[in-house]
Structure formats: structure tokens, C-alpha cells
């Protein structure tokens, strides 16, 4: 009975979407806001990567909302999975010597690569979220390869909190100095296409990179069993 109703519902959605998709053309100019950001983006913000300037400067408040959602998920996960009942331990076989040495050799190289991606966020494709995910993958490698090593919980929570605080403090400083609105670009723009340019954008991306990296590593640490 449930299967028949669900198949009828899916057929109705199918017909509705097909009738709508015939009216959307593919590959033609549709809006005018994007053209304004491309034309005026370089002189108003100073960043060469237009997507970065849209995410941090023109739409910075949406990025603040996303950082809040990640913080809530990290708290909720720690609260749901915080019981200590363990039913029967399974025997875990430790990794071989080649795997342990390889993981310990690769760990600082992956951290360096992640840090390169979120520092050069305004010059090349990349940014805070991609670099933070790569740093979390480096910590996952340590969990899988070397048996028994954990990350320091106090250091992880402190890094996450400091990253969030730097974002909000820079936004509040923009309220008093400069353009008198939240998250205004008050630092000097510098010369275009160099590392120290584009005002507050590299500072915010470094804070977001640290925050997302330590948050996702903490999520993986909460999900693993206590052995």
C-alpha cells in the first residue's frame, strides 16, 4: 500500500519537473547581479578570486550563519553520544610496520598542503572550507594508521573557539572603524595579485580554516569507540 502511494507521488513530481525544465534554457545570461560583481569586484575588495570576494565580503553574513551551524552540530554530537556503556570489546588487529611509518611520514606534508590552500584563498581556487577538510583528513589518517594515538581534546576545543572569536571580533571592529557596518573592509587593500592584499579576507579565511579543521577532527573523535 505504501509502495503504491509513493510511486504515484513520484510520478506526479516527475511530470511537474519535466514541464518546468523545458522552459529553462541552457547557457544564456539570466541575471544581472553576477555581472556587477565581476566588473566591480577587483577595485572594491582587492581580491583576484571573485567567488572568494562574494563569499567573504559581499555575503559575509551568510558565512557567519554557516559557521554557527557547524558549531551547533559539533555540540549536539558530543551531547548525544556521551554515554559510557560498552557492550563487549572486539579484537582490533594493529596495523603493520609499513603502514605506521608511512602515516607518520605523510602527516606533516598533508598539514602543509592544507595550510597552503587556505592561506592563498584570495589568489587561487580554494579557501577556508576546503583547507579545513584537508586538515581533518590528516587527523583521520593518524586514527586509522597508528593504533592508540588520540588528539588532545583541550587543544582542539581551544583552537575551535579562538577561530570563531576572531571572526566575530573583526566584524565588530568594522562596525566602529571604516564603513560603519558589520564586516566592512577596513584594512588597506594593497597591491593586487600579491599575498598581502584584499584587506580582511586572508585573516577571516585563516580563522575559518583553523575552525573547520579542528571541528571535523573533533566530530571523528566523538564517533569512534572508546577502546
Amino acid at each position: 500500500m505504501r509502495k503504491i502511494i509513493s510511486i504515484i507521488l513520484l510520478a506526479i513530481i516527475f511530470i511537474g519537473i519535466i514541464l518546468t525544465l523545458c522552459k529553462i534554457p541552457f547557457g544564456i545570461h539570466k541575471t544581472k547581479v553576477g555581472q556587477y560583481y565581476i566588473d566591480k569586484g577587483r577595485e572594491e575588495t582587492g581580491a583576484v578570486n571573485i567567488v572568494t570576494s562574494v563569499v567573504v565580503n559581499y555575503r559575509g553574513f551568510d558565512t557567519l550563519g554557516e559557521v554557527t551551524i557547524l558549531f551547533l552540530v559539533a555540540i549536539g554530537l558530543g551531547a548525544v553520544l556521551s554515554n559510557f556503556k560498552e557492550k563487549g570489546k572486539r579484537k582490533i588487529e594493529p596495523a603493520s610496520l609499513i603502514l605506521q611509518t608511512g602515516c607518520r611520514f605523510l602527516f606533516p606534508l598533508i598539514l602543509l598542503f592544507g595550510a597552503y590552500i587556505f592561506i592563498h584563498g584570495h589568489l587561487t581556487p580554494g579557501g577556508g572550507f576546503q583547507g579545513g577538510a584537508i586538515i581533518a583528513s590528516a587527523f583521520l589518517l593518524i586514527y586509522l594508521g597508528c593504533h592508540g594515538k588520540k588528539i588532545n581534546e583541550v587543544a582542539s576545543k581551544t583552537t575551535e573557539s579562538i577561530g570563531g572569536l576572531v571572526f566575530i571580533v573583526i566584524g565588530l571592529i568594522g562596525l566602529t572603524v571604516g564603513g560603519h557596518y558589520f564586516l566592512s573592509n577596513f584594512m588597506p587593500k594593497g597591491q593586487i595579485n600579491t599575498l598581502f592584499s584584499a584587506g580582511i579576507i586572508p585573516i577571516i579565511y585563516i580563522a575559518i580554516g583553523f575552525k573547520v579543521g579542528s571541528e571535523l577532527a573533533g566530530v571523528i573523535d566523538n564517533l569512534m569507540e572508546k577502546s
Binding site: I50, V51, V73, L81, V219
Partner: protein, 119 residues
């Protein structure tokens, strides 16, 4: 053939949305429903980026000094999809932690059996 070459991206995105909805409505194992949510999320993001494409355009980055600002693709959908991908993975982590807690309490992950048990 002309219809296919224009709309191949829309067909792929719409196929993923359809398969994701089918898994959520029909299957009765909880982890398979969460896999269906993940596939639905990927389909919607692909559809949003395909709407913002312009024929013979390039990526919106001024890497070389002589690039023209006239034919670049739209940067606004790319910024919104970047946010949506990260929020999708956060929702998946929270849903899986709730599934682990349900398994510890009821002993099974079958949705029909969980609805039958009352307290």
C-alpha cells in the same frame, strides 16, 4: 541529438533527485535512508551549478592580466553551493549519531519494528 547536447546536465541532476527521493520513500533500513539523503543533496547542488553556466565562458578568476571580463560564468551560484555542501555534511554527521543511539536503545534498525514498539 540537439536536445540531448543542450540538456545533458539537467537530465543527470534530475535523475539523481529522482533516485534519492525513491530511496527515502520506499526503503526501511535507517542507514539506507541516510544514504538517500546524501544522493539527493548531490543532485540539487549539480542542478544549481548547471543553471549558472554560460556558453563558452571561463572560470571567474583573474589569474592572467589580460583576461576579458565579458564572458565569465556567474559567480553567485558557486558561492551559495559552497555553503550548501558543508551544511549537507554536517546534517549527515548528526543524523548518523542519532542512528547509533537508536540502535543502542532498541536493538534493531528496521523502521517498521521501531514503529510497533511502544515504550
Amino acid at each position: 541529438m540537439d536536445f540531448l547536447s543542450n540538456n545533458i546536465y539537467y537530465i543527470g541532476a534530475f535523475g539523481l533527485i529522482f533516485i534519492g527521493l525513491f530511496i527515502i520513500l520506499v526503503k526501511h533500513n535507517l542507514i539506507k535512508v541516510i544514504i538517500g539523503i546524501s544522493i539527493l543533496d548531490t543532485g540539487v547542488n549539480l542542478f544549481l551549478i548547471a543553471v549558472g553556466y554560460i556558453n563558452k565562458g571561463t572560470a571567474p578568476i583573474f589569474s592572467k592580466p589580460g583576461l576579458d571580463a565579458k564572458n565569465m560564468v556567474d559567480p553567485v551560484p558557486q558561492a551559495l553551493v559552497l555553503t550548501a555542501i558543508v551544511i549537507g555534511v554536517a546534517i549527515l554527521a548528526l543524523a548518523l549519531s542519532l542512528a547509533i543511539r537508536l540502535y543502542q536503545h532498541y536493538g534493531t534498525l528496521d523502521l517498521r519494528k521501531i514503529k510497533e514498539q511502544r515504550w
